[in-house]
Amino acid sequence: MKHLNEDELVLHYYGEGHDAAVEQHLQACEACRTNLESLVRVLEAMDRLEVPEPSEAYGSRVWQRVAPRLAQTRERWWAGGLAPRRLVATAAMAALLIGAFLAGRVSQRRQMAGLSAPVRERIMMVAVGEHLERSQMILVELVNNETKGTVDISGEQQRAEDLIGENRLYRQAALKSGDRAVSSVLEELERVLLEIAHSPSKLDSAEFEQVRQRIESQGILFKIRVVSSNLREREVPPPQGKASTAL
């Protein structure tokens, strides 16, 4: 008698393609029943794999994170004449960061700091965190692009070009503050953004695969995730009672 192989037992276990001959064989053959029982024990053991259960508010939390990015997903961010204002805001933020860190250094000697160190750090964390999130989105879109044939990356290129200037300013701020982990990732990110910005805007599948492999081989997405996660941990609120509150 020919016994059932493991593949047949797996299909039987999952109820794929009901086969009366398999049923009959199992009824008649103890060896195959024993084999099936052993398979079932392993697969039932897999059911005990523990999965953390997010809180009830998890869906809302996901929405809070996803919602601001939906507009960026469908529209170019500079639509509606926002570009000049945003560039000014970014430059102002970077100038504030650099100035704040410089002032912080001087203050150690001359007591001239306009901002306390935790406040300066918090500004830095939030600004860089947002910048990394925007950069990550471009890289993820490129890595996950499933278009067959010629791929048009002009949208991603434009956004990469816009981010290069910001990146440079934040990197300088991080360097001045002595935050080597952040400045190092921003330096790598800058190279990747430059590569994207300077690639042809329409790539055939082989060229696109090369771009994708370059992003993946440098592990930049992983590094961004790690730094972003560290930044989030460092984003501690100012101590109670000391923060100024506008009433």
Binding site: E6, V42, M46, R48, P52, L70, F222
Partner: protein, 192 residues
């Protein structure tokens, strides 16, 4: 009255992005569970949940309503997860020679040597499950997670991942084979 998925999708497609909130809040937990089983890591799973919803939003114009929204979303989540674990594997291979990886897994399994004393059922056995799942290739893991935990039939797994059903079937078979090899001794000991 609770808005249906189909109604929310129609509103999003008509230009009301806020309607997407219903879909995100309704399906986040299940997408998280799928992503966690695929990655074995909570932070990565949370990132994948966000990526899944962003990708689904971008592609919502392509949703034809033949399958339910949740099925369509799971396909996207499975592909996001597959891309992620492939990329993670490539990074690991660049950092660690393949032989060493195999050895590491072996060491991990041997270290949790399932002697009857240590395996008074469940406790120690549970610790072997994640490494066993981790030992599967990205495609094997995706196919297994979809078949075993999500109850997706093999033909639909093939469609979701863009491969022939024969390839999907083979991935499930290989996955089960590897899991049995890794867990059979422990499961048998735990039972005895």
């Amino acid at each position: 009255m609770e808005q249906s998925d189909a109604a929310a999708v129609a509103q999003v497609r008509a230009g009301t992005p806020d309607a997407y909130r219903v879909l995100v809040e309704r399906h986040s937990h299940s997408v998280f569970r799928l992503a966690f089983r695929m990655t074995g890591n909570e932070q990565d799973a949370e990132d994948l949940v966000q990526e899944t919803f962003l990708r689904a939003y971008r592609q919502i114009g392509k949703f034809d309503g033949r399958a339910s929204f949740s099925t369509w979303l799971y396909r996207i989540a499975a592909n996001c997860s597959l891309d992620f674990i492939r990329s993670r594997q490539r990074r690991r291979e660049q950092q660690t020679p393949v032989d060493d990886q195999g050895q590491e897994l072996e060491v991990a399994l041997v270290a949790a040597d399932p002697t009857p004393d240590r395996l008074a059922f469940s406790g120690e056995l549970k610790q072997l499950l994640a490494p066993a799942l981790e030992s599967l290739s990205p495609m094997e893991r995706t196919a297994f997670v979809l078949r075993h935990y999500e109850g997706v039939c093999i033909e639909d797994i093939g469609k979701a991942l863009g491969v022939h059903s024969g390839a999907a079937k083979h991935s499930v078979f290989r996955a089960v084979q590897k899991l049995r090899k890794a867990l059979d001794p422990a499961v048998s000991t735990a039972r005895s």
